[in-house]
Amino acid sequence: MVHRRTTLAALAAVAVGVGSLTACSSGSGTEPEGSGEQEQTAAGGPVDLRMLVWTADESQLALFDEIGDAYVEANPDTVGNVTFEVVPFADYTTNLTTQLAGGDTPDLAWIFESSAPEFVQSGALLDISGTLAETEGYEYDDLLDSALSLWRDGEKLYAYPFSNSPFAMFVNTDRIAEAGQPNPADLVASDEWTFDAAREISAATAEQLGGAGLVVRDFDYQIWENLATVWGGWEAMPWSDDGQTCTFTAPEMVEAMTWIHGAIFEDGAIPGPGTSADFFAGDVTMTITQISRASAIDDSFGWDLVPLPAGPAGRQNVIGQAGIGVFKNGQNPEVAADFLAFFTNPENAEKLAAYFPPPRESLLTAEVLSQANPLLSEEQLQSVVVDGITGAVTKPAHRNFAQIRSAVRAELDAMWQEGADIESTLADVCSAIEPLLQG
């Protein structure tokens, strides 16, 4: 009896093992050849469109629904419904590729800038330049060339960069005043707003008041590409413009990383790894993030928004982009492209500007943006958003970015401790990613 019970139990255990293995692999889903086959709608009746998004903001989703409903109303014969499917930010790209693997291709999807080259070169997206340019009243020439560059391959455009949100510095003026430190806005006016000044203020406030000084939001010692908002001040770059050569070992990058390391482990200006600090909770002096985060601020403390500080090489504006692409293998790519043209036409782009600075020259004025951003003054919008987009660079992107991100993250871990050998760590980073850059 004991024997039989044990046999059954052991077999059950093996079955559990096998089951979870296959479950783990079942992301592979349906047979790939069958995935994404275009289905023509029966008798040309109205189709349903689905767009994957990562925002869960109710007011943003309400605006999308409003635009979607207006499109359905204007095109009742071709479109029956437009849905916006929310996928959490953290798992977004994983979820999107799993849907693609499972043959459940969405019609449209938001795409991170870091994944842009990979998606653009994959052939998965539809060229939308023709549809946008030919749509009446679209004003295709109004789109900024610099904003489109990441999403282009020659003359072909594979996604529309609906959000061009500059990185800026939010400061907690209450903490700064309490610690008797200089006000960053005054330093901006006197042209003394530098990373060194920000570091001194941050270290002093953290020491006197507790909490944290300067937080590069969403970096958290994992998402290292957000450090581009700091090392830009040194004109440092992770790899060459053609994406072929690692430049983590270049003198500018070594200097910038040494500065960051010192701010963490010498001054305590930047909180160390494994500590939690949230500017919007009120116990952080300043944070580098995108202006779209302004909506998370309440009136519990005094705050200001100033441009990114200048480094030894001057100020480098950085923007975070997000694009909307149409999948070739979706069920209705042409209809989806037409909807995208409607979703981003001048009138709707102005509505979307409430949350996402558009890539349209005519809309990038402090006046237009201030109507949509009541929390920010026209001066703040002019200095941070309008001026911030001019000459801005995007965060690092590469067609092999997922693997590069993982490799760099793993190698940089050696740097996030006291007494780390920065130059040798950066050399290790280059050794790890050189084959990936060229691969």
Binding site: H3, G274, N329, S406
Partner: protein, 306 residues
């Protein structure tokens, strides 16, 4: 008599599956068999098929590649590192889990006041959501988290548990240990309570001390449960994923990138579904071999099996 022999002969010649009782039996097991076929055998065969292909969902490539993915495994340093990480994790977890579960079960098998409360305390993590449990531990293990706060009260400066190469793996093992030790404890406890008191009493009368009684009477009698627990724990330890994803994302460096996390990265972060399928086949083979070894060696040490 002759008629009876003839009937018996006919019955013997009849195929087993045509017998009425056999057919009813097949009907009873059919749902389970169909379920296993649809949810285990077919997906497993499909994964093996995928593992023979270069499959990238973004570029829509699905090209037969023969054994290329398996050849790649031989030179993939990342895979070898993840095999080592999985080995350390399993070794640490299985050793600690079975030892602690046994000790707890022995303690709770005493007729003492308060044992029910302790049973509930150790078993309750088993029914808690794995991710919620891990997130709470993530807060506790932060540099400025609860554990270091407690150590600071004692004048000890705790390490940065999850960011330090020397402590990250043991931290993840401990989180998993306390999550599931209660289940093994209950299994051991049930087995201990089934050990006949008379045999222990007889051994005591023969002069055997507690240690001798434990090794010579208790362990052999509960050895079937030890086998079951060790198989379940080894299989579970090789499939750890959520804890790694929530606590360390495989870091610092690659120190906690266990095999399943590596597989996940290949498939869902790097879009290498073909290679990830090959890695999952490797994981299946490892689990199967380890289970078969445990199964085959049972005759040497499991009571009633020799």
């Amino acid at each position: 008599m002759a008629l009876a022999t003839l009937t018996a002969g006919r019955r013997a010649r009849r195929p087993a599956w045509r017998r009425r009782d056999a057919q009813i039996g097949y009907l009873f097991v059919a749902p389970q068999v169909l379920g296993v076929l649809a949810l285990v055998v077919v997906p497993l065969a499909t994964v093996v098929w995928y593992s023979l292909h270069d499959w990238n969902v973004l570029t829509s490539t699905f090209i037969f590649d023969g054994a290329a993915n398996y050849q790649r495994m031989l030179t993939d340093g990342g895979l070898h590192g993840s095999l080592a990480a999985s080995g350390w994790f399993s070794l640490g977890l299985v050793t600690l889990n079975i030892s602690l579960a046994m000790v707890l079960a022995l303690l709770l098998n005493q007729r003492l006041r308060g044992t029910t409360a302790f049973r509930v305390m150790f078993f309750s993590p088993v029914v808690v959501s794995l991710v919620a449990w891990t997130i709470v531990w993530g807060f506790l293990l932060q540099a400025d988290g609860g554990i270091n706060g407690f150590l600071a009260l004692l004048g000890i400066e705790g390490p940065n548990w999850l960011r330090n190469g020397a402590t990250a793996m043991i931290s993840v093992i401990i989180v998993q240990l306390f999550k599931n030790v209660g289940l093994n404890m209950i299994l051991f406890l049930a087995a201990l309570q089934a050990v006949p008191v008379q045999i222990q009493e007889a051994a005591r009368l023969d002069g055997a001390n507690a240690w001798r009684r434990f090794w010579s009477i208790v362990v052999p009698l509960i050895s079937p449960t030890i086998l079951l627990v060790s198989i379940i724990t080894v299989v579970g330890s090789l499939e750890v994923f959520a804890q790694i994803d929530v606590l360390t994302q495989g870091g610092p460096g690659h120190s906690t990138t266990v095999l399943v996390y590596y597989l996940y990265q290949q498939a869902f972060q790097f879009n290498e579904f073909g290679y990830a399928s090959a890695v999952s086949v490797l994981l299946f083979v490892i689990v199967l071999v380890l289970t078969l070894i445990q199964w085959q060696t049972r005759k040497r040490w499991v009571f009633h099996e020799s």
